[in-house]
Subunit: 278 residues, 4 copies
C-alpha cells in the first residue's frame, strides 16, 4: 500500500468528464499500477453543476475557475476534458505550473497551437498524453445515418493484410492475413478478450466482453505508468502535433480541391517550426 | 445525500466476488437509487487471500468465518458468491439473522434445498434475489469448443417471432417479428444501448456499448430498489425454486431417458411441498 | 409452344460472354416469357477461340467479323459484351441494321458517344437495354484489397432509412427503417429469396439462394419482355446516357479538384445536346 | 465432340426434379467431363403434368410408368427423385436392368432396404450414388422457425478446430483452427469461390457466388466421372447404408430414451447382415 498517489484535477465534467471520472475510479480495481489516481478536484464554471457532478462522481473537492485548480499545490495531474478551443490555454498553463497533463483529442485547433503546447510540456519536463482511447485515431464518420449509431468503423487495407473494427463491437477485430494458406484465407473474427491482447488480462476471462468506458481505463493506466517512469506514453503531444498536421492538411485540401503535401515532423521541433509555420 | 446505506457483507471473493465487488462499487456512479451499497465486509477462509482481496477491491473489513459475518450488527445484506453446495446453509443462516440475501445461481442443489431457503427468507421477511444477470437463464453450453470462448448463446423461436442473443456480443439482440410486412421480414440487429431499453439510460449514449460487468450492476440496482421498497425483485427465491424444478427434471430425464412431467409450483409453498417432496 | 423466337447474335465470348451465354440458355428454364432466345451466332476475331466457345456454350454458329453478324437476316438481337471502347460502333451499326440491342455497361466512353447510340436506337425504333445486372449501378471499389474479393458493396443512407448490400452475399439486403418502433429499430437482414421479391418466384423456395449468374438471367428476362411489348426495359440507353453524364462529371472533378454541376437530361435529346455538348 | 453420351431417365419431376433437370442441362456448360448427360426421358404418373414438365425442362420424351422407363434400351442412367418410400423398389429394378443409379437422400426407409439396394447395384456392377448435395449430410432442422427459412445450419467442433456452415450463405465456410497463433485465433470467413476449393474453378472468378442449384451440378459432375471410370463416387450406396444405420439408431434412441450402440459396417456386406439384421 505504499503506492504513489497521483492527485488529479479535472477541467470539465460533462460527457467526457463522466467517462474520465469513472476510469480514474475504476483503474485500481483492474490494474496494479505503481501510481494510483486520487480524485482530488474537479473544475467547471457552473457552481451548482460542478458540485453535483463532484458528489455524484466521487471527487473530493471542486472549483469554478480552472486557473485556481492549476494553482493548487495538492494537484499533480491536470486532465483536460473541455471543448477543443480551450485545450491549448489550459494545457500550457498547467505545464507552466509543473503539472502533468492529459488532454482530450484533438489536441488543438491548429498546428501552431499544438506546437506551443508541445513546447510547454517539454520545457516543463512534465508527462503528457492525448486521449486517443481507441488507439487508432478513428474518423468519426457516418453520424448522419441513424441506423449506424455511434458509427465509428474503419477498415485498413495493407500489403500484408487487412483490419476492420467497429466501435459497436469493440471487443472484436476482423483480421485478414495475406500469408494464410490459399483456400483457408478469410477475415478472422478475433476476440480481443483473450489474454494475449493488450489490457485483456486486467479484466475478465476470455469471452467476457468489456465496454466503451474501459477504453478510458486502459488509457489512464498507461498515463499512471508514464508518471511512474517519467516517460510520456504514446500517444502524447508529439503524436498530437502529427495528428494536427494531418487534420490541417485535410481542411486545406477540402478548401482548395488540391492534394496537399504534408510537412515532415521528425521530432526536431525548432527545425520543423522554421520549415512549416505560416 | 440522505441516501439509505445498505451495508453489504459478501461471502466469497474469487471470480464472482470480483464481479460483485465491482458492481457494488460502481452502482452509485451510474444509478441514482434511494438505497446505496456500502462495501462493509468480505468473508473467506484464507486470511491472507481475503485480506488482499478486501484491499484490492475496496472492502472496509474482512472475516475468515462467514458465520461471524452474519452475526455482525453492521451488516444489512448478505451476498453469497460461494460454490453452489454452500448456498443453502449460508442463505438460511443469513435470513434467520434478519439479513437481506442475494445469492448466485443456481440457488441450490435440489428442489428440497431451494424450498427450505425460500421458507427461510419468507419467514424472516427479508428481501431476496437470485443472480440471473443475463435475465434469461442462459444455458452455459458449448464450453468444449475453444472457438466459442464463453459460448453463451441462445435462440428462442415462438409463434410471433424469434430472438437470438450471444454473450460475446451482449449489447445486441437479434429479433425477428412474424408480423413484419412480407418482403421486409428478417432478423433485426437491435442495439440495446438505445434509451428505450432497460438500464441503458444509466450508461452512455446510444452506440457506446457496455460490458460483462454491467450485467451485475443492473442486477444490484434492482436489489437496491427492492431493499428500498421491501419487495423482492425478480428473479427471486421463488423463481429460484421454479428453476430448480426444471434443473432436477433435466437431470432425472437424462438418467432415465424418459420425459419428465414437472410438478407445478403456483406460489403455494405448503401445498407444493406436500405434492412434490420425495 | 408458339413462343416468339428471338435469334441472338452475341459479339464477344470471354468472361462476360460466358455469363450471357449461360443466361440465354437458362432463361426459359426459369421464366415463362412470351419471347424466348435462340443462341443463333457468336462473333469473335479469333476463329479457333470463337469456334470452341460456340461449341462449349451451345451457339448454333459463329463469325469472325461482327459486321457480318449484324448483316445476317437470321439475327433479331445483338448482344454486345466486348470491351468498352467498341460499344458505340457496334451498337450504332446494329441499330441501323434494325436489330434490337443489349449492351454491357458502361454504355460508352463519353456522353457524346452515348448520345449518338441513343439517337441511333431511337431512330431505328429498336428495343435497347444496358446490362446493369445489379440494378443499382454499384461502384466497383476496393479491388485492391485481396480480403475483399469481388468487393462490390454499397450503403445508401437516406431520410427514411438505410440499405446495405454486398455482392458476395447477394441474396440478402440489409435494411434499416427510420419508422420502426423505438427500441425495435435495427438493420434487418432480409432474404430476397422470398416470393415477394422481384424474380424470386422464378427460382427455388425461400432460403435456397441464387448466384451471380442469375442476375444476368433476370436481366435477359426483362429484355425478352421488352422485345414482346416493344418497350425498352429499364435500364436502357436513356439511363445509359444519364450514367455517362455522372461518370464524366466524376472524371472532370478528379482532374480539376472542383465540384461539377451536372447538365440535366430530361429526355429531350435535341435540347440536351444543344445545352451540353462540348 | 467424341464425348460419351449418358442417356438419363429420371423418375419424378416436382421440386427435386426441377433441380436435377437443371443440373443435367447445365453440367456441360461448366464442367468438361468425358461423359455428358442427355435428357432422354422423364417419368411421372400424371400424363399432363409429366408432359408439361418434359417440355418446360427440356426432356426429349416422357413416360407415365417408371417400369417402362427402366425397360427402355435408350436409357443408361436412372435418376430417382421420388418420395423416400419408393426409392428401394425403383433402384433395385434399375440395377437389375443394368442401369446406373443415382438416388435422392435418404437412400431408404430402413437399414434392411438399404442393404438390399446395395446388394443389387453391386451384383449388377453398375455405378451408384446418393444425392448428398451438401456433402456433409446436414440435418434439416429448425424448419418451424420462419425467421430461419431453409434453416440448414451446422457446427462441428473437433479437437483441431471448428467449422460452421449455413445453407443461406452456402458460398462461405466459417473455420476455426486451434493451431493458429494465440492472439490471432478466431473464426475465419472463407469464400469457397476461390479456385483452391472443390468445383470452384468450373464457375466464376473468386467473389462471384454460386447458388443452391449448383450443388446439384457438382454432384452430377462427380456421377459423370464415375460413369466414365466405372468407380462409384462418394457418397454412394455404401455411404447410404452407413447413413441409414445412424438414422435408424436415432429413431430407436428417441423411442427408448436410451443410448444406442451402432453396428459396425466395414464394407463386408454378408458379415454385416449376419451381425445386424433383425
Amino acid at each position: 500500500m505504499n503506492k504513489k498517489q497521483v492527485r488529479v484535477g479535472m477541467v470539465g465534467y460533462k460527457f467526457m468528464g463522466k467517462a474520465h471520472s469513472h476510469a480514474f475510479r475504476d483503474l485500481p480495481f483492474y490494474f496494479d499500477t505503481e501510481a494510483v489516481p486520487v480524485l482530488q478536484a474537479i473544475a467547471g464554471r457552473d457552481a451548482a453543476g460542478v458540485r453535483e457532478a463532484a458528489e455524484k462522481m466521487g471527487w473530493a473537492s471542486w472549483e469554478t475557475d480552472w486557473r485556481r485548480l492549476i494553482e493548487r499545490d495538492d494537484i499533480d495531474l491536470i486532465a483536460i476534458v473541455t471543448p477543443n478551443n480551450t485545450h491549448a490555454e489550459i494545457a500550457i498553463a498547467a505545464a507552466q505550473a509543473g503539472k502533468h497533463v492529459i488532454c482530450e483529442k484533438p489536441l488543438a485547433l491548429t498546428v501552431g497551437q499544438a506546437l506551443h503546447m508541445l513546447e510547454a510540456v517539454k520545457k516543463a519536463g512534465v508527462v503528457h498524453m492525448v486521449c486517443h482511447n481507441y488507439r487508432l485515431g478513428v474518423f468519426e464518420a457516418t453520424r448522419s445515418s441513424r441506423g449506424n449509431r455511434a458509427g465509428n468503423r474503419f477498415e485498413i487495407n495493407g500489403e500484408k493484410g487487412s483490419i476492420r473494427w467497429d466501435m459497436e463491437n469493440l471487443n472484436h477485430l476482423q483480421v485478414y492475413l495475406e500469408e494464410d494458406e490459399p483456400g483457408l484465407q478469410g477475415f478472422r473474427t478475433i476476440s480481443c478478450t483473450e489474454v494475449e491482447h493488450p489490457f485483456a488480462a486486467a479484466y475478465w476471462p476470455a469471452g467476457h466482453i468489456i465496454g466503451y468506458e474501459h477504453t478510458f481505463i486502459n488509457l489512464l493506466a498507461e498515463m499512471m505508468n508514464g508518471i511512474s517512469t517519467g516517460v510520456s506514453p504514446s500517444p502524447n503531444f508529439e503524436d498530437g502535433v502529427r495528428n494536427q498536421i494531418v487534420l490541417e492538411a485535410v481542411e486545406q485540401s477540402v478548401q482548395t480541391g488540391q492534394w496537399v503535401k504534408l510537412p515532415e515532423y521528425t521530432g526536431n521541433l525548432p527545425s520543423f517550426k522554421e520549415q512549416s509555420m505560416r
